[in-house]
């Protein structure tokens, strides 16, 4: 019988009610992946896009050539940022549930990606985040009150009430405005990096998308430009396994790693354990040096897990097992860094409990301050005239007229 063509439908390994099954996940033992020179030729380092760079092993030891040998103090700072990110997310989720904010997106389980990467970069490097990169603002020191005011769309909202919650920006912190449309920031980051190279500056650009967003054409445009111009950029695909209800197989992750698209476009690709703070730090440091020294761009795939729902509008119990996250083979990024610090003798359960308490209090106090500046539906509100500003640098006549019409409509 001749074989017939067929249409393949990717299917996740487990659905609601099933036992979580991560047998599809290919990993490497901690310490097993070779670390090449930062200026190695792409054709000589294709193993990096197939294997999984890991540093922390199951016994809380840091092993192998990617071990970044960070000072314990830096590790404690990293842990602090991750714990703060998680507490912030939990509180803001509750604020959404209580109706204070209209929408929220947690980064549960992915904290190491933003925190370790941002710590491995320089303050002058320009960040083009997605909507699940809260940790970047923690590392760069954005006051929580500022983030909360954006979430509340209140009188101190940096976006002047124009954006959905989570779509922050921070010029001074060199963090670009989040779009809300997927992957648009990827080619923009490449262009920013090209400009840095044109101007002879050694700041690099870094951008993040989810693996689902790698399906958008903008991903491919960005990869091509980054490779053609060897732009000083790090492009990150955060493979958290889920794009709302569709698992990573629908973005093309079934047949080949996302990192392998790097060599496919002629650039370095690294697949890293995204829940391993040390490994994420080390590969970012490697890629940043590579970019900064003219050796070209890198695509990093962070293998991690979206522990929470896509957003407060999503219900993952409809499409994946409830305990999927607990069974994720690469563990929890906070627990793993904490375990490592304890094994080093540089941390303890008591200190951790004290840290959690301190940061919870910090979040609570910040929230108390933020709501004083108003909320979407109560307290002081932004001046509605602001909605006509910034459409253009100078307001054209037709918008002036409309602003007057709105004033009349709303009683002056």
């Amino acid at each position: 019988m001749p074989r017939k063509s067929r249409l393949h439908t990717p299917r996740p390994h487990s659905r609601p009610g099933d036992e979580p099954d991560f047998s599809y996940l290919e990993t490497s033992p901690a310490g097993a992946v070779r670390r090449p020179d930062v200026n190695a030729r792409v054709r000589d380092i294709s193993h990096l896009s197939i294997d999984l760079v890991r540093v922390l092993d199951d016994a809380h030891q840091a092993v192998g050539p990617w071990h970044p040998h960070l000072d314990p103090h830096d590790l404690q700072v990293g842990l602090r940022h991750m714990v703060l990110t998680r507490i912030f997310d939990e509180r803001m989720q509750r604020a959404q549930r209580s109706g204070k904010i209209s929408f929220y997106m947690r980064s549960l389980g992915e904290e190491a990606v933003s925190v370790a990467q941002c710590m491995a970069l320089r303050p002058g490097d320009m960040l083009f985040p997605s909507y699940r990169n809260q940790g970047l603002y923690m590392v760069r020191g954005k006051p929580l009150v500022d983030l909360m005011c954006q979430l509340l769309s209140n009188t101190r909202d940096m976006c002047k009430g124009r954006q959905l919650p989570v779509m922050y920006h921070w010029t001074a912190g060199r963090i670009f405005s989040i779009s809300g449309n997927l992957t648009t920031q990827f080619p923009q980051a490449v262009g920013w990096a090209m400009a840095a190279a044109i101007k002879g500056e050694d700041d690099i650009a870094v951008s993040w998308i989810g693996e689902g967003s790698s399906a958008e054409a903008d991903f491919h445009h960005a990869m091509l430009f980054a490779s053609v111009y060897q732009a000083p950029v790090i492009l990150n695909v955060v493979n958290n396994q889920w794009a709302i209800s569709t698992f990573q197989g629908f973005a093309g992750g079934e047949q080949r790693s996302f990192a392998a698209r790097g060599p496919g476009y002629g650039m370095a690709g690294i697949r890293v354990d995204g829940n391993d703070f040390l490994a994420v730090y080390a590969v970012t440091q490697w890629a940043a040096e590579r970019a900064r020294t003219g050796a070209g761009p890198t695509l990093i795939e962070h293998v991690t897990y979206r522990g929470a729902a896509h957003s407060t509008s999503d219900d993952p119990s409809r499409y994946r097992p409830k305990d999927d996250y607990e069974k994720w083979p690469l563990g929890d990024p906070v627990d793993r860094l904490k375990g490592y610090l304890i094994a080093l003798g540089e941390w303890s359960e008591e200190r951790h409990a004290a840290l959690v308490k301190e940061l919870e209090q910090h979040v609570t106090e910040s929230w108390k301050e933020a709501v004083q500046y108003g909320a979407l539906n109560e307290g002081p509100r932004l001046n509605r005239d602001l909605m006509f500003d910034d459409v253009f640098k100078e307001m054209p006549e037709h918008l002036r007229i409309q602003r007057e019409q709105l004033r009349a409509e709303r009683g002056g």
């Binding site: 919650p165 997927l182 569709t246 909605m387 918008l399 409509e409």
Partner: protein, 338 residues
């Protein structure tokens, strides 16, 4: 008669067409196993299988491009773009390809693709989940543009769209999914079960593309509108005690000029309302057409009521939305009321 909300009515239309025509396929992000983020395709993959209802990667350009290829190869695809705000990556495929394929091949190649997409604000969606880009599509020659405003029309028009051999972009005002909305966000939500157009036959029927509907007969003026604004205009006219003839355009391309202009010639006054931004909005086309055909019957300048010419701001949703106050201002102007 069964009661349906707009989600159930749209679902029923696709269910019927999947059942009647083995060439009908549905594709889009989250539409299969999950049933769509608004549940419009709920249960269809379970019933018809993974080769009839396909989850896709997040790639709107590829969704429409692949739908064109499927259409050329004999299928009748219904593509979902999750929000109208996300349709722009697909625009090259829609504008340059889907719209012109029949023309450029002298009628030899064509793709009967329906692109469904939820539009409009009123759900706290901010600037990326609230847009009404219908006018952009009406400016492209070769695609039909449809926007129903109730469950009965939604089902009948979607079946017509799927059966149509020309491409259709089908806008679904998401604020109307669960009930009519008169523009006052502080009132309790009204379900479709309280509205006559929430009565939807279980079986096959069509509502023709290219036919407007007179929602309310009246003598004093004609209100030409569509989507969510149908209900806002009804409420505003009622609050002023006006005997308005209200026309739901339903299909922007091809436009039912006859129904609209017959009414305006009768009443002599016209207000046009849509949620989309005013400048180069579809109201401009309506206004120009009505002026050309009804100039000698008009007793006052045609008024346009629309969203402001800004992006849709999250915090100022109801200041942006052309609610009853803005419609009343327009009605007073066209009626020359103090």
């Amino acid at each position: 008669m069964p009661q349906m909300n707009m989600i159930q009515a749209l679902n029923s239309a696709m269910d019927i067409m999947l059942g009647r025509d083995p060439n009908v396929v549905i594709l889009g992000e989250d539409v299969g196993f999950f049933g769509g983020v608004f549940r419009v395709t709920d249960g269809l993959q379970r019933k018809y299988g993974e080769h009839r209802v396909l989850d896709t990667p997040i790639a709107e350009g590829a969704i429409v491009g692949a739908a064109i290829g499927m259409g050329v190869n004999g299928l009748r695809p219904v593509a979902e773009v999750q929000f109208a705000d996300y349709i722009y990556p697909a625009c090259d495929q829609i504008f340059s390809e889907l719209a012109r394929l029949r023309y450029r091949s002298a009628g030899e190649f064509w793709a009967p693709v329906t692109v469904r997409t939820p539009c409009g604000g009123g759900i706290r969606g901010g600037q990326t989940h609230s847009q009404s880009p219908e006018a952009i599509f009406t400016h492209v020659c070769g695609i039909k543009v449809v926007m129903p405003c109730n469950p009965y029309d939604a089902k009948g028009l979607l079946i017509s769209s799927i059966e149509d051999d020309d491409p259709v972009v089908f806008f679904e005002p998401k604020r109307l999914y669960n009930g009519p909305f008169d523009g006052d966000p502080n009132k309790p939500a009204v379900p479709w079960s309280t509205h006559p157009k929430g009565e939807v036959p279980d079986g096959y029927y069509t509502v023709p593309i290219g036919k407007a509907e007179i929602v309310r007969k009246g003598a004093q003026l004609t209100i030409v509108t569509y989507g969510t604004m149908v209900y806002v205009c009804e409420a505003a006219a009622r609050s002023l005690g006006l005997d308005a003839e209200i026309i739901d355009v339903r299909t922007m391309v091809p436009l039912d000029v006859d129904t609209i202009c017959t009414s305006v010639k009768k009443t002599g006054r016209c207000l046009i309302a849509h949620e989309a931004t005013r400048f180069s909005g579809f109201g401009a086309e309506l206004s120009a057409t009505i002026q050309e055909q009804c100039f000698w019957n008009l007793e006052a300048p045609i008024q346009r009521v629309a969203g402001w010419d800004t992006p849709y701001p999250h915090a100022f949703e109801w200041e942006y939305f052309p609610g009853p106050a803005r419609v009343i201002t327009g009605l007073k102007a066209v009626m020359e009321m103090p």
